[in-house]
């Protein structure tokens, strides 16, 4: 992991403060989250106080400080999805997978995020599991999807 961070760091000019966010995004993409250690590395490399980096990272929704699950579920909570009762679907996911929004299950299999709007409002309510989109969800359909990922052995 440290090598990856090292590699990412080298892509950015040290001390150019405006590349902090792209740099953190890169680490997040590679590592799935921003670990304590990775922020420390960035702080040393960029010569920005540790706390400043944490302050920036914790401001934005994109940055996670905990690992995502192997199945990362994103349920859209845009206006259209809200009207089509996405909160009901969220409750169903939370119950079935025993995970709360913004959290990852202890076994690291599932994580759930509620996202603002994925811009696919005509297919509301929508859900993404990793990169796969599911549109026009019904409760039945959702239950089927959930039991499928719950039962797979990985």
């Amino acid at each position: 992991m440290e090598e990856t961070i090292e590699k990412i760091l080298r892509k950015y000019p040290a001390g150019k403060k405006d590349s902090l966010i792209p740099l953190l995004q890169d680490i997040q993409r590679e590592a799935g989250h921003l670990s304590d250690n990775s922020i420390l590395e960035v702080s040393r490399y960029m010569n920005i106080p540790l706390n400043k980096i944490y302050g920036v990272a914790s401001f934005y929704d994109q940055f996670k400080f905990r690992k995502k699950g192997r199945y990362h579920l994103q349920i859209c909570h845009g206006t259209a999805c809200h009207i089509y009762r996405s909160s009901l679907f969220q409750a169903e996911i939370e119950k079935t997978l025993q995970v709360k929004a913004g959290q990852t299950t202890k076994d690291g299999r599932f994580s759930l995020d509620v996202v603002n709007c994925l811009g696919a409002c005509s297919s509301a309510p929508t859900l993404f599991i990793n990169e796969t989109p599911y549109g026009n969800l019904t409760l039945e359909h959702l239950q089927k999807i959930l039991s499928e990922i719950k039962d797979t052995n990985d």
Partner: protein, 647 residues
């Protein structure tokens, strides 16, 4: 010279650099082939915008590929952007040689075979046909309506989305064949930056991001302010829930945006431009990256563009997910690598913005208007729209509406026409309750108040604003108190926290709304009074928020609540006094019963109940323990026998 190089040089030398717009016959033939106005082998267009992908167009594309391979049909597949009719996605068009381009709706993977087999034997699947495109070069299909006659498109006037759906967003050749970048060439060759600002000011184009300030005048400030390095920023941080116009532009026609950026950057004297793109738009990112790469390869961007000595470097920055970064000063902070908190203006970014330099932040839609204005002149643009609002406006039409998607209508179009004629009314013919316009900072207008023209000033007369361009149609199943709560929660979550009034005010507002929608307890009238006092305080809070907040997010954060209170006060009162939600949305106010006569004891509801509030044995009627029930309604949804009743 191989085919590809020849095509490239033809497009660059003969099409792009033709300022007169007059072509020789053979050039025209060549262009119409490149534009695919005329095709020699079948061309298949598949809508693969994000909306299409969610609807399943990825699988459809695979099915089409498989079908063509099996039947050995030599056809070209164009994965184009969304034509706007998202509710009919996946949309697949087929252009057979000699025949007009014909469009099919809801072509899921399983439908491909039957539709295609019929079509290749010149039969049209009537269930799925959407319409055909007009063409003088090919023969029309019998008994198929023209696309521009379909209600969804009939009232639209596409000037920004003109080429969307016709070209491949991944091909600069397509863009050039459709005449893109000619305005940029013309600008660089013929106009000084001052002149460009003049033209744009004359066109009376106003910012589409919500503010509505004259774009040309804003540019002039940046142009005339001294600075070592000026910046142009394209604001594509479209994180309003229910808005996706910018995404549609980028995914459908990225080069139009790049051209707009290039002209704007030239006009203010900037050699650096940033596109601040929302992080949840991965497809738009891929497309834009490729578009910039191609434009550099064609030397339309980069150093010494068209030999003029003008340099322009455009780079993409992904936002990191904060709604407030749609505000220009917060966006600039974010680009600088800081927390995205707005600063108190003045200084305005046009005077002192990114790294303290003169900076212009323009919205995607604003910039996408520029090439058209340069091409046709300011008076052409002024000819569209109303007295004070010129041009067209994009909206994301969503919610409980029959036809949903991204639409482009001239300013001055009646809101009711958008809902009833373009949108086709509510879904399933339910009663229309309201229209929410302008996203989370916008307002809800009641069904009775929709005869208002789209325009900056006209919408103000009913207390609304164009805002971001989100347009949600709400039918009787929507609870206005719940919706106000939803928007307030959104804004509360997205408040940056810098100024006290917005940070604490939105939180308190949410808590008051929570109180109104919270589960009724055994309560004395005193608590009802407290709730009512809360509503009175809402109005007081809203006023101070508007007066005192640092940025637009806080200032407008009370709009959804205030407008709902104004038009739907009785719904609030019903929640407060009667503890009832007529739309049966506020889950705490719902009471569920099992109709003993209908329940056959299938046990499904008991298994699904998250609160274990349902008791009963198999094959005997079940019961709901009222004080355990959280009102989530899952039992209601899962009961196949309609034995569960909401009260």
């Amino acid at each position: 010279m191989d085919n590809r190089t020849e095509e490239k040089s033809f497009l660059l030398e003969k099409v792009l650099k033709n300022l007169t717009g007059e072509y020789q016959k053979e050039q025209l033939d060549k262009i119409s082939l490149l534009r695919r106005d005329k095709v020699l082998s079948p061309v298949i267009y598949i809508g693969t915008g994000s909306c299409g992908i969610v609807a399943g167009s990825g699988k459809t594309t695979e099915a089409v590929r498989k079908y063509l391979a099996e039947k050995k049909i030599p056809a070209t597949i164009i994965e184009c952007g969304c034509i706007g009719y998202c509710s009919e996605e996946p949309i697949v068009d087929v252009h057979l040689p000699g025949k007009a381009r014909i469009s099919f709706r809801k072509v899921t993977e399983d439908k491909v075979e039957s539709i295609f087999s019929a079509l290749f034997s010149h039969n049209v699947d009537e269930d799925h046909v959407l319409g055909q495109y007009r063409s003088i070069l090919s023969e029309a299909w019998a008994k198929v309506p023209y696309i521009d006659q379909i209600p969804f498109f009939a009232l639209q006037n596409k000037i920004i989305l003109k080429n969307t759906g016709h070209l491949s967003p991944l091909s600069i050749d397509d863009a050039l064949a459709h005449g893109e970048y000619r305005s940029f060439y013309k600008t660089i060759l013929n106009y000084t930056p001052e002149k460009v600002c003049d033209i744009v000011e004359l066109s009376e184009l106003r910012g589409r991001g919500g503010g509505g300030f004259s774009t040309g005048r804003k540019w002039k400030v940046a142009l005339t302010t001294a600075g070592d390095q000026k910046y142009l920023i394209c604001n594509a941080e479209e994180s309003d829930p229910g808005a996706f116009m910018d995404r549609a532009i980028i995914e459908g026609d990225p080069h139009r945006l790049l051209e707009g950026i290039a002209i704007a950057a030239y006009a203010i004297g900037a050699s650096y431009a940033y596109i601040y793109l929302r992080s949840d738009y991965p497809r738009a990112l891929t497309i834009l990256e490729e578009a910039i790469r191609q434009a550099k390869e064609y030397e339309i961007l980069g150093q010494n563009i068209f030999g003029s000595g003008y340099n322009l470097n455009i780079s993409i920055r992904q936002s990191a997910g904060a709604f407030v970064c749609g505000e220009e000063t917060a966006l600039i902070r974010s680009l600088e690598g800081q927390r995205g908190t707005p600063w108190a203006k003045p200084p305005y970014p046009a005077e002192s913005g990114l790294f303290g330099q003169p900076t212009i932040v323009n919205n995607v839609e604003t910039l996408a208007n520029i090439p058209g204005i340069i091409e046709h002149g300011p008076s052409w643009f002024k000819g569209i729209g109303t007295k004070t609002s010129k041009g067209t406006k994009l909206f994301s039409l969503t919610g409980n509406v029959e036809n949903s998607g991204c639409i482009e209508v001239p300013m001055g179009t009646l809101l009711s026409d958008i809902v009833h004629r373009i949108g086709g009314g509510t879904k399933g013919g339910k009663k229309l309750k309201a229209v929410q316009i302008g996203g989370p900072s916008g307002v809800c207008l009641p069904a009775s108040n929709l005869d208002v023209e789209i325009g900056y000033e006209s919408l103000q007369t009913v207390g609304a604003a164009i805002g971001s361009g989100g347009l949600s149609v709400l039918d009787e199943t929507v609870c206005m108190v719940d919706l106000s709560r939803y928007f307030t929660e959104f804004l509360q979550k997205e408040s940056c926290g810098k100024c006290i009034i917005c940070r604490e005010g939105t939180k308190r507002m949410l808590e008051i709304l929570d109180g109104i929608t919270r589960r009724p307890r055994e309560e004395s009238t005193h608590e009802t009074l407290e709730r009512f006092k809360g509503v009175v305080q809402l109005e007081n809070l809203a006023e101070v928020l508007r007066d005192t907040s640092l940025c637009g997010l806080g200032q407008n954060s009370a709009n959804p609540v205030l407008s709902s209170l104004k038009w739907f006060r009785e719904e609030f009162e019903e929640h407060i006094f009667d503890r009832r939600c007529a739309a049966s949305v506020c889950r705490d106010m719902r009471t569920f019963y099992i109709e003993v006569d209908i329940c056959n004891g299938c046990n499904v509801c008991q298994k699904k109940c998250p609160e274990n509030a349902i008791i009963g044995v198999v094959k005997a009627p079940h019961f709901i323990v009222e004080n355990k029930c959280s009102g989530c309604g899952i039992c209601f949804e899962v009961c196949k026998f309609n034995a569960i009743i909401v009260k």
